[in-house]
């Protein structure tokens, strides 16, 4: 397994349900410390690494990738010990039947979201979609014990660990957006080999899935003159609109669209061509649904580039990426930061 897959596997297996990133912040900081001059954790649990630039005074580049993951939140505990829940982030109820979970109660508790067996489903219910409020988590305890161990508001994460498939592809939970975090590390590794004038702030951000909260704080606190966002975009799959999905393994997707800096986007595409780094162009007519939307309007407005890693089956527990694309994203961003035209 390549180094990037190894790291991404490790990152995906961390648990940081959106809004409860404190569960993983220190682990993320540990990873960044290997490559940064300073690493701090802000009150929101954004993890901020600084790699100092060599010019005086240096400019500031802000690179963010969110590390929160979608999950569930406990909304009730039945007398029978089963847990009710709601979505924390964009969870598809169709994608969580018969699923292993960890309930982050007084201690971490293994549980399963059950599913009615075919034998007991009536013909009229067969073709109906299942609603989240009809589902329960089974932690294997009776009501008394369940109420002792679990409180309403406790977060729940999915189990599916990352597994390696063909062609440097990994599938598992939280590729959205630990693959972006892995790209931060790839970026830092590449920067070590390069001379760069600017201070580079890499931030693993929180609560993206709840509305870019971490990015809003980060782009306010760090006065940057260039913003770069690593996130995922939809990977190719059958039965999905072809202009909104991108093949895996064909390079990082560089977004073009209104909220993105025309100058820097053109610049980074030129850099990709010059350096022979695989890329594809991702047309984003709206606000991109990523942290680029936050950076673009932070303070006076930060000119921002969005680099996306194609991920199949987004917001399921088998999100799939190619680590070739992760490496390409990190390398391309590093080259651009080191060689960019500041005029």
């Amino acid at each position: 397994m390549n180094e990037c897959s190894e790291l991404l596997k490790k990152l995906c297996n961390l648990r940081a349900v959106t809004g409860r990133e404190n569960m993983a912040a220190e682990k993320i900081a540990e990873v960044l410390r290997n490559y940064c001059d300073e690493v701090t954790i802000d009150p929101f649990f954004n993890v901020i690494g600084l790699k100092k630039g060599q010019s005086e005074p240096p400019g500031n580049v802000l690179v963010t990738a969110h590390y929160d993951e979608i999950g569930l939140i406990v909304t009730g505990i039945e007398d029978s010990g089963f847990l009710r829940f709601a979505a924390a982030g964009g969870v598809d109820p169709k994608a969580i039947g018969a699923m292993e979970v960890i309930v982050h109660g007084k201690k971490d508790l293994f549980g399963v979201i059950g599913a009615k067996p075919p034998h007991l489903i009536s013909p009229e219910d067969k073709d109906k979609g299942i609603k989240m409020e009809e589902m329960r988590i089974d932690i294997g305890y009776d009501g008394e014990k369940a109420k002792e161990l679990v409180s309403v508001g406790d977060m729940v994460s999915f189990v599916n660990p990352a597994r390696e498939l063909m062609n440097n592809r990994l599938a598992g939970k939280s590729m959205d957006n630990r693959s972006g975090v892995a790209a931060l590390v790839e970026l830092l590794k590449e920067l070590k080999k390069l001379h760069h004038d600017d201070n580079v702030y890499v931030v693993a951000t929180v609560q993206e899935e709840l509305g870019l909260i971490g990015a809003i704080c980060a782009s306010y606190n760090i006065k940057a003159d260039l913003g770069i966002v690593f996130d995922v975009c939809h990977g190719d799959m059958p039965d999905a609109p072809g202009d909104e999905t991108f093949p895996l393994g064909k390079g990082v997707a560089v977004a073009v669209g209104p909220v993105l800096s025309k100058k820097h986007t053109r610049g980074i595409i030129k850099m990709a061509k010059d350096e022979n780094i695989p890329y594809q162009v991702d047309p984003e007519p709206g606000d991109t649904g990523t942290e680029a939307a936050a950076h673009a309007i932070a303070r006076e407005g930060i000119p921002t580039i969005l680099l996306s890693i194609p991920a199949k089956y987004m917001h399921t527990t088998v999100e799939m990426v190619s680590t070739d694309d992760v490496t390409a994203a990190g390398r391309l961003a590093a080259r651009y930061i080191a060689g960019r035209d500041k005029a």
């Binding site: 399963v112 067996p117 599938a171 088998v318």
Partner: protein, 355 residues
């Protein structure tokens, strides 16, 4: 008990989708060969073991099926994704986002799903259509995929067993590795009656293996050891729960395949009550078991079903209470020990006219 539970866990971690039970069978043979007088594998793949009793020669067939529900690769698409069909009853909604192993090489794959962001309004609120699901092994195209898998390959869920909560076990294929684990243990002890321990194939595709096994054994009595439906979750009416997890092994009175033998079931109930072993009756008549096949074999067989309630059966995350497994072991053993003295066989009495 630890040993039996470890055997059960190991059994569930092996793959044996219907028609491909070899790995499960080999493991079972390694465990039972020294405890039986004879064993062989028949044309269909059933493992039939024989253990001579010390008494009357009453022939008792014990059945547990080795196969599990799963999938089969039916087509390799040009983009390298694998089309599949289900083997046995699997709901489409439990397939999404699952880890699988494909073929004898166990090629890792996942079952993907269209992201919620890209679904139309109808797709969002509707049910999952099995026809739109594919297995993704990461292949770039058809040619690459063809190098790894073949059409007809069986696909099993890749879920390792987990003990959790209050004495619970989650695993795939508890239906019917739990029956296999009970039967393995039963074969380690001696009885008055002659025991034919049958580990059968292809139950999930229509009770196939039990038919040929029963033909060969030609038993007087058969006890089918199973994992059965259980849906004791909130908002379910008690009569629809089928069974309740942790309330003891379940006895079938009737299901879609069989009406069990009244005398035999009454005997089992008496044994349970005499020995203080908890039991329950299965309250739904859904599903079928090998008992339906065995009952009508030859001149007819007196049959009963003893089963461990399994929540979320036919999914990769079925859940049982370990105490139900323990009690099923106890009950089945006690029943076998007391059989020869209490059973009346019409055949021995000269046929139905004498009854």
């Amino acid at each position: 008990m630890m040993e039996q539970l470890e055997i059960l866990k190991k059994l569930t971690s092996l793959d044996g989708v219907s028609g491909d039970e070899g790995a499960v069978r080999d493991y079972i043979i390694s465990l039972v060969r020294d405890h039986v007088d004879d064993y062989y594998v028949d044309n269909m793949g059933n493992l039939i073991t024989y253990k001579k009793g010390s008494g009357s020669g009453l022939k008792v067939m014990l059945d547990a099926h080795m196969d599990e529900v799963g999938l089969m690769v039916t087509k390799i698409n040009s983009d390298g994704l694998l089309k599949f069909q289900t083997i046995g009853g699997i709901e489409s909604r439990v397939l999404v986002g699952k880890r699988v192993r494909v073929g004898e090489k166990g090629v890792p794959g996942v079952i993907g799903f269209k992201p919620i962001h890209l679904q139309s309004k109808n797709e969002r609120s509707g049910a999952v259509d099995k026809k739109n699901l594919t297995i993704d092994i990461g292949a770039k195209d058809k040619e690459q995929a063809e190098g790894m898998v073949e059409i007809g390959d069986r696909v099993a869920f890749e879920y390792d067993p987990v003990e959790f909560g209050d004495n619970k076990l989650m695993a795939k294929a508890l239906d019917d590795r739990v029956g296999c684990a009970v039967l393995i243990e039963l074969l380690k002890h001696d009885y008055e009656c002659d025991i034919y321990g049958c580990f059968t194939v292809q139950e999930e595709v229509g009770l196939k293996g039990a038919k040929t096994a029963a033909f060969q054994v030609n038993p007087d009595i058969a006890i089918v050891l199973e994992g059965t439906t259980c849906y004791d979750v909130p908002d379910t009416k008690e009569h629809s729960m089928s069974t309740i997890c942790g309330k003891g092994p379940a006895l079938t009175i009737m299901d879609r395949s069989v009406i069990t033998d009244r005398e035999l079931v009454t005997h089992i109930v008496k044994v349970a009550e005499k020995n203080g072993i908890p039991y329950q009756f299965k309250k739904t008549i859904s599903g079928g078991t090998n008992a339906g096949r065995i009952q009508v074999s030859g001149t007819g067989v007196k049959v009963a079903v003893i089963a461990v309630p399994c929540r979320y059966i036919h999914t990769p995350v079925s859940v049982m209470d370990i105490s139900d497994f323990e009690n099923m072991l106890k009950l089945a053993k006690k029943v076998l020990e007391s059989l020869p003295v209490s059973m009346t066989l019409y055949r021995e009495q000269g046929g139905i006219e004498n009854v």
